[in-house]
């Protein structure tokens, strides 16, 4: 489902401190946020936390930061919210997982891209192979997993952002702190690497 463009005055209203602006933003982006939370929450957290809880925490955090919102620094309210969400996810992982977290696997955009290790790969593989050939799938999954794991973190994030979060190139670039053209190039390269890992499948 393609995302509808945001109301053009939303950023201005957020900056002006209008209460209903934040509520409206949440109304618009809530479904997207929920999907992102489901995607990125560590599985043991998913059992304990409800995506709704995470969204509420994010709302609170956003509310506290609203007065530092600067419309000139961000193209859309979504980008700002997404960053707040990223911070919330990170904080939650830190709080709930403590020492057990594998900080190395965590994404700058919060949580784990694609959830548990390999599940992103599993998803990808599941989408191309007929489910009955289990052995072939296992092999393929391993190969995709390898490709994703050895990819630069930013590149992997680009794939996840562009396709699983339906971010535009510009939004993805903003979120990752890259110039737009760089983001675009790296995205293409990531696509190629993925393709290579899949071989003849798909």
């Amino acid at each position: 489902m393609a995302a509808a463009p945001e109301p053009s005055d939303l950023c201005a209203r957020l900056q002006a401190g209008a209460e209903d602006a934040l509520a409206e933003a949440f109304g618009i982006y809530r479904p997207r946020m929920e999907q992102i939370v489901r995607l990125r929450l560590h599985p043991s957290l998913l059992a304990r936390l409800d995506p709704e809880d995470v969204i509420q925490e994010t709302f609170l955090a956003a509310g506290k930061r609203q007065d530092t919102f600067d419309a000139s620094r961000t193209t859309t309210a979504w980008v700002w919210l997404r960053l707040v969400l990223a911070q919330t996810l990170t904080d939650l992982h830190r709080a709930h997982l403590g020492k057990k977290r594998d900080a190395g696997r965590e994404s700058p955009l919060g949580g784990l891209p694609g959830g548990s290790s390999g599940s992103l790969s599993q998803r990808l593989v599941a989408s191309v192979t007929p489910p009955s050939s289990a052995a072939a799938r296992r092999e393929l999954t391993a190969s995709v997993h390898e490709a994703l794991a050895t990819m630069d973190e930013i590149d992997r994030e680009l794939l996840v952002l562009r396709h699983f979060e339906e971010a535009s190139n510009r939004e993805a670039a903003e979120l990752l702190g890259l110039p737009a053209s760089t983001a675009s190039d790296r995205y293409l390269r990531a696509l190629q690497r993925l393709r290579a890992a899949l071989g003849d499948q798909g």
């Binding site: 209903d20 059992a47 489910p131 675009s184």
Partner: protein, 859 residues
């Protein structure tokens, strides 16, 4: 690779992605040609894109895929938790329905295990109305179960077609098409609904006896086939998948719509299934969701309180017995429902076969009281149903206080939360400043849904006040909170709790806040009156008047209220309990009329003044009309009284035209209409007759709309009696009609003093029937009156509208302190009807009763 080449590839990829997401069907290779020399490269990129997009949307199963023993043929539909396919069972060579879920939806392995276990348990069920499950299996990441393929469609589609109309017409012989099914149901909407419910109840009963609960009965899980058979599907499994979301977020609107209240806490047994089936039946009868529309913030408090309107409110064709059965199935407390689906089925069959049902209705007062008392502590913030910015966003509220963040939010955004509450409070209590002294909260019982909501509001305010009492910055808010609690309790009939809260408010209120001081004193006055302590009430009201007004509108408004209430106090209990009556009760304090007149006069003057500032204010207008009405009835000068009555009447007439739906206004209008006409003597003028008829019609409408309100019933009896009494003098046939209505309205509540009012009215019916020569009616009336006559005592006839002695402990809450039927009846000292009745009995040869009546009337 050149920079330009890269960016043009990037642009093409971008374009492809956008178009695919927009739903365009694109041929990858063809599209790739756009890259010219680099088309192979582009094709390769796009293949990745395809894969990513597909992974994103899930949907790993396509036609022709093989899952275990089955080959997928085509997709039949998508539910919240999986996709249903038509598939062929290879070994048995038959078509089945395959419900497929992927591991991501199922979550962790423990739930996957449960899924298979539930499916296996459901596979044990063999019943005509349960979709048989053949087995469960998994293939890789996918888990599925196979069930019988039913040629039909789901009930929610059929209901949607019946409600919204069909977009296309299928061929007639396509029996299982939703449109055709809908047509067959429409041919007999009530009967077909009950028959469907019976089948489902039988199925549930069977499953329950085998130890399997469904837990997610809803129209989407019910199938109707072309032969009229109803099937339940997805036993046990449906709930499993929703459970996780449900106990946390309450965001699962689709399932919230069909939940029993106890399921919100994760508790539910077979009676929850009964409840859910009740909801399905309700929806079949009304074609609307029983809990109403809205998102989860709206629905949650309604589910919590099981706030469901009776089906007849939407569909007048629903017979009373059927409604009683439905309401029993929908009782909020499981202990009051059918204890088994079998019992439900039995009563449904009774309805179909026109036999008596076992269900009995709880009286409205009982229900109302029970719910006000059994307050569950739903976080008060759950009441922010759609109000204010807060509800829109953060509060996907749950049923427990575990919503730490919601409470934190409330503290952070106090003003926001409080103002949202004010809106809710105002809508439930009709405004913070209750207007006139006579009718408002006493005439209309609080509905059980409102009582529950009010109780929760009171709890919130209470906690808020308790928490903030020591915070000087919040002093004004705390006072207001206590006051709100007080008003709510008064609304709910608990005047002791009300008084306690109001006194706390008074202790905290700033002396400088004159309006608040005056208002609190007035409310305390009302409390004292509710307790029948008129001296105490007078003290409070005098204190209210002692607050200097300094021209302040709000203070003056309270002064006017105080005066009107003091007028009522002047008459003491007798007057207080019969404010609608234009006839003066016997046992009143001496000189009361003058005092009452003075006070009403003072009130009226203040109100007239205030109206100069705000000429269109409904509250002021209504209050003034009330004062005028009372001045008219108390006045010594008939001409003056007529003028005052006429003015009151024209004010109320204008108000009812402005706000035709406001019940209080209509009630007062009916009362004032019948005042003048009812008091006229001599020949009945056509204008008076019109007024009486209009008043009677309004009163009957109100009685129909508020069947539970004792205040409305009393008004109706009063108005109808006046109409009957006057109209019978010129038109016996019309008069008898009104007396019959009095019998009907008054007779409903037999708990009042043996139905004296009804019997008296029945006496008039008998007399008029004799006059009109309706012998059958006379005989029938006498047959019913006979036993009553046997129990009559002299004091029954002599006593008119007087005090019946000390009130029973504790007023029935909700009924507040309204007048009781039987406290006012026929004109005073008029024993003539009884003498005439004696003659009727005599004519029928019933000497004993005739003699008895004659003896009683020798006074």
């Amino acid at each position: 690779m050149s920079q330009d080449g890269d960016s043009s590839l990037a642009a093409l990829v971008e374009d492809y992605v956008q178009r695919r997401r927009a739903g365009e069907a694109l041929d990858l290779l063809q599209f790739a040609q756009r890259a010219g020399a680099r088309s192979a490269e582009l094709a390769s990129l796009l293949a990745s894109v395809d894969m990513l997009e597909r992974a994103r949307h899930g949907g790993p199963v396509r036609a022709g895929d093989r899952l275990g023993d089955f080959v997928v043929r085509r997709e039949l539909g998508r539910g919240g938790m999986g996709i249903v396919f038509e598939a062929e069972h290879l070994t048995l060579q038959r078509l089945v329905a395959l419900k497929v879920l992927d591991a991501a939806t199922l979550g962790d392995s423990s739930r996957i295990t449960r899924f298979h276990r539930e499916a296996r348990a459901a596979a044990r069920l063999h019943h005509t109305n349960i979709v048989p499950i053949h087995g469960t299996d998994s293939a890789g990441d996918l888990h599925f179960y196979a069930m019988q393929l039913i040629d039909g469609c789901s009930l929610d589609r059929v209901i949607a077609v019946r409600r919204d109309g069909a977009l296309t017409q299928p061929p007639e012989d396509h029996r299982s098409h939703p449109v055709n099914i809908a047509k067959r149901l429409d041919a007999d909407p009530i009967g077909s609904a009950v028959r469907i419910a019976v089948q489902l109840a039988d199925a549930l009963d069977y499953a329950h006896r085998l130890g399997v609960l469904h837990r997610d009965v809803k129209p989407a899980n019910v199938l109707l086939d072309g032969d009229g058979t109803a099937w339940i599907a997805d036993f046990g499994v449906a709930r499993l998948l929703d459970e996780h979301d449900l106990t946390r977020s309450g965001n699962f609107v689709g399932t919230l719509r069909y939940m029993a209240p106890e399921q919100l806490r994760g508790r539910g047994d077979q009676r929850a299934d009964v409840f859910a089936l009740g909801l399905v039946l309700h929806e079949l009868l009304t074609l609307a969701p029983p809990y109403g529309e809205g998102d989860s913030t709206d629905l949650l408090p309604r589910v919590e309180a099981a706030a469901i309107e009776p089906p007849s409110a939407r569909n007048h064709a629903v017979p009373r017995d059927l409604e009683t059965v439905v309401l029993k199935a929908l009782a909020p407390d499981p202990a009051h429902r059918y204890q088994s689906a079998g019992a439900f089925a039995a009563d449904l069959r009774a309805v179909l076969e026109d036999r008596p049902v076992s269900a009995r209705r709880a009286s409205a007062v009982e229900r109302c009281w029970r719910w006000a008392r059994r307050n569950r502590l739903v976080t008060a913030l759950a009441l922010l149903a759609g109000t204010g910015a807060v509800a829109a966003a953060a509060l996907g509220v749950t049923g427990s206080l575990n919503t730490r963040s919601a409470l934190v939010l409330a503290e952070d955004n106090l003003e926001l939360a409080l103002s949202a509450f004010e809106e809710v409070f105002a809508s439930l209590t009709g405004g913070a400043a209750a207007p006139g002294p006579t009718l408002d909260d006493r005439i209309f019982e609080v509905s059980s849904k409102d009582a529950a909501a009010l109780q929760q509001l009171a709890t919130f305010y209470d906690r808020f006040a308790a928490r903030n009492e020591h915070d000087a910055r919040l002093a004004a808010r705390t006072v207001m909170a206590h006051e709100r609690v007080g008003v709510i309790h008064l609304h709910l009939g608990d005047h002791e709790a009300a008084e306690a809260a109001l006194r706390r408010a008074l202790a905290l209120v700033a002396k400088a806040d004159r309006a608040a001081n005056a208002r609190l004193r007035v409310e305390l006055g009302r409390c004292r009156m509710a307790a029948r302590d008129f001296d105490g009430a007078r003290r409070e009201l005098d204190l209210a008047l002692a607050v200097a007004d300094g021209g302040d509108f709000d203070v003056l408004r309270q002064h006017a209220r105080a005066h009107d209430l003091l007028a009522l106090c002047a008459g003491g209990r007798g007057w207080y309990e019969s404010p609608l009556s234009a006839e003066r009760p016997k046992e009143l304090a001496t000189g009361w009329a003058e005092r009452a007149r003075e006070h009403h006069g003072a009130a009226e003057r203040i109100l007239a003044d205030l109206l100069r500032q705000r000429p269109d204010d409904v509250d002021l207008l209504r209050a003034r009309a009330g004062s005028l009405r009372f001045l008219a009835m108390l006045g010594a000068d008939p001409t003056h009284a007529r003028a005052q009555r006429a003015e009151a009447r024209s004010i109320l007439e204008a108000l009812t035209q402005r706000l035709p739906k406001a019940p209080l206004l209509r009630a007062e209008f009916a009362a004032v209409l019948s005042d003048a006409a009812g008091m006229s003597r001599g020949a009945l003028q056509p204008g008076d007759r019109d007024d009486l008829e209009q008043a009677a019609a309004t009163a009957l409408d109100l009685a129909r709309e508020f069947p539970a309100s004792s205040g409305v019933r009393d008004l109706a009896i009063e108005v109808l009696s006046k109409a009957a009494r006057r109209i019978e003098t010129v038109d016996a046939a019309a008069g008898i009609g009104y007396w019959r209505e009095v019998v009907r309205v008054a007779g409903v509540d037999a708990q009042s003093d043996g139905g004296f009012v009804a019997r008296s009215a029945q006496t008039r019916v008998a007399l008029l029937a004799a006059q009109l020569g309706h012998d059958d009616e006379v005989a029938a009336a006498l047959a019913e009156l006979g036993p009553w006559v046997d129990t009559l005592r002299p004091e029954d006839i002599a006593r008119r509208g007087a005090d019946r002695g000390p009130r029973p402990p504790g007023p029935p809450p909700g009924a507040s302190c309204g007048p009781r039927p039987g406290d006012r009846d026929l004109p005073r000292r008029d024993t003539e009807p009884f003498a005439a009745l004696a003659r009727l009995f005599e004519a029928r040869g019933d000497e004993a009763r005739a003699a008895r009546l004659r003896a009683l009337t020798q006074r």
